[in-house]
Symmetry: C2
Subunit: 165 residues, 2 copies
């Protein structure tokens, strides 16, 4: 048995309980490992005074110029209100600039500043190093297998929201 819940109150408790059933779930192991990678990454990134959400936003802007807050919010799975604050932070750090679209002045066009482009390689290095270090224990085949399994799950469940936590 796995749950003492199955023993009625007042019953004698088994000498040694079975391990918690948490570990029976793949989702548990996924979260356990994922949290550690993300935690380490977030901590290192924080030394540069950058949050993970900010880093993702910078990355998206670097990958394709001319994003708008609304599109960025959709990509990152955040509300417009939330993205607005992320952009405020980036703005105050002089890492992005916002300019009204000439076609529709309600719309803002986002772009990275020169400063952001200068620190981007450094931030990318942090991400690369973190990933390399964490998965160094796996061989090339294992890494490929893990990647394929995760991509398969992402594909099946149509997950597109970029993780920012």
């Amino acid at each position: 048995m796995e749950l003492s819940a199955e023993s009625p109150p007042g019953a004698r408790r088994p000498a040694r309980q079975a391990a918690s059933p948490l570990e029976a779930h793949l989702g548990y192991w996924l979260r356990l490992v994922s949290n550690e990678v993300s935690r380490a990454f977030a901590r290192t990134l924080q030394k540069q005074n950058i949050s993970v959400a900010e880093w993702v936003a910078i990355n998206q802007l670097a990958a394709g110029a001319g994003l708008t807050p609304a599109r960025l919010a959709a990509t990152m799975g955040m509300t417009r209100g939330a993205i607005s604050k992320v952009l405020d932070k980036l703005d105050s750090k002089r890492l992005i600039s916002r300019s009204p679209s000439p076609l529709d002045s309600r719309v803002q066009l986002l772009s990275l500043t020169g400063q952001a482009r200068r620190i981007l390689p450094q931030l990318t290095s942090i991400a690369d190093d973190n990933d390399r270090h964490f998965f160094a224990a796996l061989g090339a085949n294992e890494k490929a297998a893990l990647r394929n399994l995760l991509r398969k799950l992402a594909g099946v469940h149509q997950i597109t929201r970029i993780p920012v936590e």
Copy 2:
């Protein structure tokens, strides 16, 4: 128009931008998938008015009686202050009880109430169903492979902190 954003005014847009390097990282895929599993689980659990942290605490108490707040905090990777609030919530829901240890009255012994033991199977079902549904796309061998890869990483990095987010 959807978004003039796609073409920055005046700028020649590259024929096709390279994909964001985010996807190059295994940690990215891990987080992407893990977030989805956890999000779905947390949402279903929330319908029972239980947070993930509360669920983990209930599980730990079910697995081995006689835990104390301090030990639970260590297991869950939280501070004593944070665990105190989790226990307050569980207490207010009549799911746990706290009683002073006869050996050291500073110490509290935690135990589940009958009510908690009654709903535990239901909560476990939620976790089981969530896991089963999410990983149904994988065959038995794939699940085993994924589990082994994750356990290997957890072992190498000595990850023990139970994820509660």
